[in-house]
């Protein structure tokens, strides 16, 4: 990238199954207040804001109009990205690189607990003629993908279960996560089936929370107190949405997004040049599929590597150091926000008990969930 952009502040509410004490406004307000304190700025200094929301998830149409107040963005430039937080981050980076603003705020929020009919919401995303009449569960779509991925890659159900054990254990040490658990492999393998080969513990539980992030241009970084984490590049890609003809084995959307991000960040051998990854693990197999798509190991190797501890915090290439979706929750469009948050804390050396010894370059990757084929990737460095 020819103009450098840094994350100079980040704030979160943490992630919980329910948040009955606050509305979506107060949830974002808390994360925003913390992010501005972290960056040492007032919202008046912000040139533009990017919110991420999706009307059907909020239960409001034109929900983007409800974004300004809780960000301090009244009478300011704001737009909404109906996509993953990392896509919103990409929009923020562009606002700075184009010279539109020196400081940009990116927001993401999940009030999953307020969506009573989540299954129907996702079924509503299916094509009304080709797929909706069949009324397939979103988990069944994921299970078909898992089956094909395991079949093609040679990874196993046991290796997927290992991902669950690791991420839920990492979450035990994460004060922002609610789903920490000391599970054994057998606990996962014996959990009741949801859509075979997926069982209950392979699936991330829904959670509420908010993340707000402050971006600044290189020129502005000097005058801010923060601990800048540089955005080396950000990219995203979407495959065809067709359930009939998409690629079921590989996460090609993530592979394309990653290749472009690496190219622009000047990364040739990601596994060597990157120290750790925070990536979407909304279903256990997605962690393995995304590790391979991000080029962090050879095709078909992620499962074996997970078995020997490669992706543990103490391993050669830590993945989802703070618990990922399995440990923090399925946050819908905030997925990438949780990933960026944990990458930033590691890169700053502020990850507490979860802190890695070496954390200089990270990749964070979000997926928009079933039934989408959209992945977004950001490479971050300190």
């Amino acid at each position: 990238m020819d103009k450098k952009v840094a994350i100079v502040g980040i704030g979160t509410t943490g992630f919980r199954a329910t948040t009955p004490d606050v509305s979506y406004r107060e949830l974002t307000y808390e994360a925003a207040t913390k992010a501005y304190l972290d960056a040492g700025i007032e919202p008046q200094e912000v040139g533009a804001f990017v919110a991420t929301s999706e009307d059907f998830l909020e239960g409001y149409s034109i929900s983007d109009e409800y974004s300004p107040d809780q960000l301090g963005a009244v009478l300011k430039s704001i737009h909404t990205v109906p996509g993953d937080f990392i896509q919103g981050l990409g929009n923020g980076v562009m606002l700075i690189m184009s010279g539109y603003a020196d400081i940009v705020v990116v927001q993401g929020m999940s009030k999953a607990s307020n969506m009573v009919t989540k299954g129907d919401l996702l079924t509503f995303a299916a094509d009304p003629f080709a797929w909706r009449p069949l009324q397939e569960s979103p988990h069944a779509i994921a299970a078909m993908e898992m089956n094909r991925f395991l079949y093609e890659s040679g990874n196993t159900i046991e290796q997927c279960a290992q991902v669950v054990v690791k991420n839920r254990r990492n979450a035990l040490l994460n004060p922002r996560a609610a789903l920490g658990a000391a599970l054994e492999l057998e606990d996962v393998l014996n959990a009741d089936p949801v859509a075979e080969p997926l069982c209950r513990l392979d699936i991330a539980q829904h959670a509420d929370g908010a993340v707000v992030c402050v971006l600044a241009s290189q020129e502005k970084v000097g005058s801010l107190k923060g601990n800048p984490i540089w955005v080396r590049d950000v990219s995203w890609a979407t495959e065809t949405n067709a359930l009939d003809s998409r690629t079921w084995g590989e996460a090609v959307y993530m592979q394309l997004a990653a290749e472009k991000a690496y190219r622009m960040a000047g990364i040739r051998t990601p596994a060597k040049e990157i120290d750790f990854a925070e990536l979407n693990d909304e279903y256990s197999y997605k962690e393995l599929q995304h590790i391979e798509a991000l080029g962090l190991c050879a095709w078909g190797e992620s499962g074996k590597l997970s078995e020997i501890g490669w992706s543990e915090r103490t391993g050669e290439f830590p993945v989802n150091t703070a618990g990922g979706c399995l440990g923090c929750g399925h946050l819908f469009e905030l997925d990438g926000g949780q990933k960026v948050l944990d990458a930033v804390l590691q890169l700053r050396g502020q990850a507490g008990e979860l802190q890695l010894k070496t954390a200089n370059t990270a990749v964070a990757a979000g997926w928009r969930g079933v039934p989408t084929t959209t992945g977004a990737v950001v490479v971050l460095g300190n």
Partner: protein
């Protein structure tokens, strides 16, 4: 394309009539979305609704800009700080703006000539709240032609046993005399 051929096409192209759809002559797919939400209102709106049930209007003050925000908010969006005390406000106010609507909220035409009263929605600046702060509601029981900018109005509440913690616990606003 020659005219003869065009005519042949025109003969086969017919506009769809309702009975073609209902009679199964054309293939259709319908879907009733089942979208249900249970919004957490947070402390401010929850208390606002609870007070409505008691027949009262409550706002919240920001001590920095000295505004009384109505409906109440937990933070001041201008000063970017948490708000301060809860403040009961009056159920009287002044019309900021209004209109005489011949259509309902789905934009369906009301039978005005048949005697249906037009809707008269209004924004009412509530006494005790800051200038510009108020309630979007409706005015009733007065000839729409008599509604004026700056007119003084008062809430007409539902009987206590019928109130349920909703903005409709106020049935409508009615005109009252000039402010003392």
């Amino acid at each position: 394309m020659d005219i003869k051929h065009q005519k042949k096409i025109d003969k086969t192209v017919t506009s769809l009539r309702k009975k073609d759809v209902t009679g199964g002559k054309v293939v259709t797919e319908s879907w009733e979305p089942n979208l249900e939400y249970a919004w957490d209102n947070g402390p401010a709106i929850s208390r606002y609704l609870a007070e409505l049930k008691k027949g009262k209007l409550i706002g919240k003050r920001c001590n920095k800009c000295d505004r009384v925000l109505l409906p109440p908010r937990m933070f001041c969006e201008i000063c970017w700080r948490p708000t301060d005390e809860w403040v009961y406000v009056e159920d009287t106010g002044t019309v900021n703006t209004f209109c005489i609507s011949h259509v309902d909220w789905k934009a369906g035409r009301l039978n005005i000539k048949g005697g249906v009263r037009p809707f008269t929605p209004a924004v009412i600046e509530i006494d005790g709240a800051s200038k510009g702060m108020g309630i979007l509601h409706m005015i009733d029981k007065t000839n729409p032609k008599n509604i004026k900018m700056g007119m003084r109005v008062k809430a007409v509440w539902k009987p206590a046993e019928k109130r349920e913690g909703s903005i409709t616990d106020i049935e409508y606003f009615k005109p009252i005399g000039k402010k003392k």
